[in-house]
């Protein structure tokens, strides 16, 4: 039913265009060099796809997905870094990371099965904060805020990949995750997830075991998030500080799936492009462009009296804060989110209805079904 199925060429064209990008890039002007931010988009896309399984498919709101990314980042770092005895290398490291992520998902999922709705969101939020704090405080193992250095870069067949190779590898990961998520969505367990989201009681009546399916969703989400954490770390060759995996990252991941269209696999990809693109490409370029025409500070002097004082006050104020585009980042970000929710709450690419009815013009896409109030 999707456009992609109608035009089987579209996704392949997209992949081909992305794959060709690093070959074209050197011939483009400097401001169009997007390879670097794009790899970031890829990592976030994997994180988003993971979260989409739990929050999008299964309808369990998770505000602590960064914790899984942190667990992945640190597992990978400890498994591969030369200062620890394991030194597994890239691919075995990734395998261990994915397994550790799944385990963490189980560990969080099992006790919280009875916790519902917003309360579950709070539990995941708390879990995220605890993981971050524990990583900082257990500095004998995790090196605390030092971060773990150096983490080996991605490699293929024994050779470390350079920037272009990393780009292609990450692209391959995104394509594989995307295909996997699509397959999962249509599989038996995927349909069970979606039915739990729509109505847990009814799906139980249909013979689905919600606890079982929810645990699987937790594990799948955590495993993918851990993978994204590991990829992020290997790209930076350092685990960075634990504070990099805080509430902010969870919120960015959540915004990715919501902006893209919650429950929609294609939407998640687009959400990653929009969110990360806004943050790492558009705003950065904008401030660079504005910076080069920035104004200098005012000369100090006696402030004038009367109406001149008001003018002087406003002028100084404008020069203090309003002229620097970096000071506008929050505002643009926030306004974009609000406007998006008002004018297209189902996201840019909402999931297509699984079945033929309800008719398309009804706003009752699966996302809207969740707790919408009469």
């Amino acid at each position: 039913m999707s456009a992609a199925r109608r035009n089987p060429l579209v996704p392949w064209l997209g992949i081909a265009a992305l794959a060709a990008w690093p070959l074209v890039e050197p011939y483009l002007p400097a401001w169009m060099h997007l390879g670097e931010p794009l790899t970031e988009v890829f990592v976030y896309a994997i994180l988003g796809l993971g979260l989409n399984i739990l929050t999008g498919f299964t309808g369990l709101l998770n505000l602590g997905v960064a914790a899984f990314a942190a667990i992945g980042a640190y597992t990978y770092s400890i498994a591969t870094c030369e200062i620890y005895p394991f030194q597994l290398g890239f691919w075995p490291g990734l395998a261990v990371t994915a397994a550790a992520g799944a385990l963490a998902g189980f560990l969080l999922g099992a006790p919280t099965l009875r916790v519902r709705g917003d309360y579950l969101a709070i539990v995941t939020l708390g879990f995220g904060e605890i993981v971050k704090d524990v990583l900082v405080n257990l500095d004998t193992i995790t090196k605390g805020t030092q971060g773990i250095n150096p983490v080996p870069p991605p490699s293929l067949l024994g050779t470390a990949l350079e920037a272009r190779g990393q780009y292609w590898l990450l692209l391959a990961f995104v394509v594989a995750t995307f295909a996997g998520a699509r397959a999962l969505e249509r599989s038996r367990v995927g349909r069970a997830w979606i039915s739990i989201r729509e109505d847990e009681l009814a799906s139980r009546a249909m013979g689905i075991r919600p606890d079982h399916a929810k645990m699987l969703a937790f594990a799948a989400c955590a495993s993918l998030a851990a993978l994204s954490g590991a990829l992020l770390v290997s790209r930076l060759s350092s685990s960075g500080e634990p504070s990099n995996y805080g509430f902010e990252l969870s919120i960015v991941a959540l915004c990715i799936i919501i902006v893209g269209g919650i429950g929609s696999v294609r939407g998640t990809l687009l959400g990653a492009v929009v969110m990360v693109g806004m943050n790492s490409i558009v705003l950065v370029r904008l401030s660079e462009a504005l910076n080069s025409s920035g104004a200098d500070a005012v000369q100090a002097g006696e402030p004038p009296a009367g109406i001149g004082a008001v003018w002087h006050f406003l002028r100084t104020w404008v020069q203090n804060v309003f002229l620097s585009p970096t000071n506008w980042k929050f505002l643009l970000f926030g306004l974009a989110l609000i406007l998006m929710m008002i004018f297209r709450p189902q996201g840019i690419l909402p999931p297509l209805a699984v079945h033929e009815d309800p008719p398309e013009d009804e706003p009752g896409a699966p996302g809207a079904g969740q707790g919408a109030r009469p």
Binding site: I122, I130, V321, M341
Partner: protein
């Protein structure tokens, strides 16, 4: 070896530090175990009452529109900026005696109205168009509103006023003048109950009593309870649901305004990023008590305040956040709807 190069003037500073300093520095070493515990209780109660006041704002809004209002902490932050601007513009830190007290009351009232109106406006512009949308959309809009308010705080901080120190340090935290001096109101042994501690109680207790009266015994309160229970039925009974929602945003926001003033006086700091922590503590408190439940929010606030104080004092400050969140998770796992919360409807 260190080679010290010091001029006479600077040595004088050192001498000063030494002369009237050294004897008094170590004088506090005599706190008994009980005195330490009592002091921690005082701290925990004061912090807890402030958290409770903010938590009420979360819980009221949640009870009525089922929205975790992420922007609430940042709303309080703007309230603190409003108060700081008023104090700076009127030179209130120099007012003493009765004028000072009256001024403080006026400041509390003005900030409450400011925050209430702002919260009402945010609801009108950002949340109301989403009344029929999914809960998640509403949540994202709240996150967006929080970003916008934080940025407004940054702009506000760049105001060329003396209290803001002007310059290009818009982002730096600002000192809030000690309108109520942090001096002991009375001491029991070596336990200090400071004047700000007393202020916290004097402001929060009447507000909580007033709110209870409002919700229990007024027509508006009745309407609020009705809308919280079932908005459709309430609308059918002739209640103007949007008006009631607007009113609860206003009331929740104005309580946040009171909290902002008390917080600023107690901590003497205002910064554009303080909303996150203010909001997070209060939000946990609201959930702990059972979100949507007013007495629960107060109970949760007090508990969070006390747990924080005890953990700082007896465990280690760096573990405090984990302790707070750990307790939260345990309570939710074993009592999934919070301490005083009603059973949650089977809807996600």
């Amino acid at each position: 070896m260190l080679r010290a190069v010091a001029a006479a003037e600077q040595l004088a500073i050192l001498a000063l530090a030494r002369a009237d300093g050294v004897p008094s520095f170590a004088a506090d070493g005599t706190l008994s175990t009980w005195e330490v515990l009592s002091q921690q209780l005082v701290t925990g109660l004061s912090n807890g009452m402030i958290i409770a006041l903010i938590a009420i704002g979360y819980t009221m809004v949640y009870g009525i529109v089922e929205l975790i209002n992420f922007a609430h902490g940042d709303l309080c932050m703007l309230g603190a900026f409003f108060a700081l601007t008023a104090v700076g513009a009127l030179g209130m830190d120099a007012w003493g005696g009765a004028g000072g007290t009256l001024g403080l009351v006026a400041l509390l009232a003005a900030t409450a109205v400011f925050c209430g109106s702002l919260n009402w406006t945010v609801n009108r512009l950002a949340y109301r168009p989403l009344r029929k949308a999914s809960k998640l959309s509403l949540l994202v809009a709240a996150i967006g509103a929080s970003f916008v308010l934080v940025n407004l705080g940054l702009f506000w901080g760049g105001m060329p006023m003396e209290v803001f120190s002007g310059g290009n340090s818009a982002a730096a935290p600002k000192a809030f003048p000690a309108l109520v001096e942090p001096k002991p109101a009375f001491t029991v042994g070596d336990v200090i109950v400071s004047r700000p501690d007393v202020l916290v109680l004097c402001v929060t207790l009447p507000l909580m009593a007033g709110l209870t009266w409002l919700v229990r015994f007024t027509k508006l309160g009745k309407a609020m309870r009705a809308v919280a229970q079932n908005p459709t039925a309430a609308a059918l009974m002739g209640i103007d649901v949007e008006r009631v929602i607007g009113a609860s945003f206003f009331i929740g926001g104005s309580l946040g305004g009171f909290a902002a003033v008390v917080y600023s006086i107690y901590n003497q700091t205002v910064g554009f990023q303080m909303g996150y922590r203010m909001g997070m503590d209060a939000f946990i408190a609201a959930v702990l008590g059972g979100i949507g439940n007013l007495p629960g929010a107060v109970l949760g606030g007090l508990l969070i305040g006390l747990v924080r104080a005890m953990s700082d004092g007896y465990i280690e400050a760096r573990w405090t956040n984990s302790v707070v969140f750990g307790i939260l998770i345990l309570i939710l796992v074993f009592r999934p709807s919070g301490l005083l919360g009603a059973k949650l409807r089977e809807k996600v």
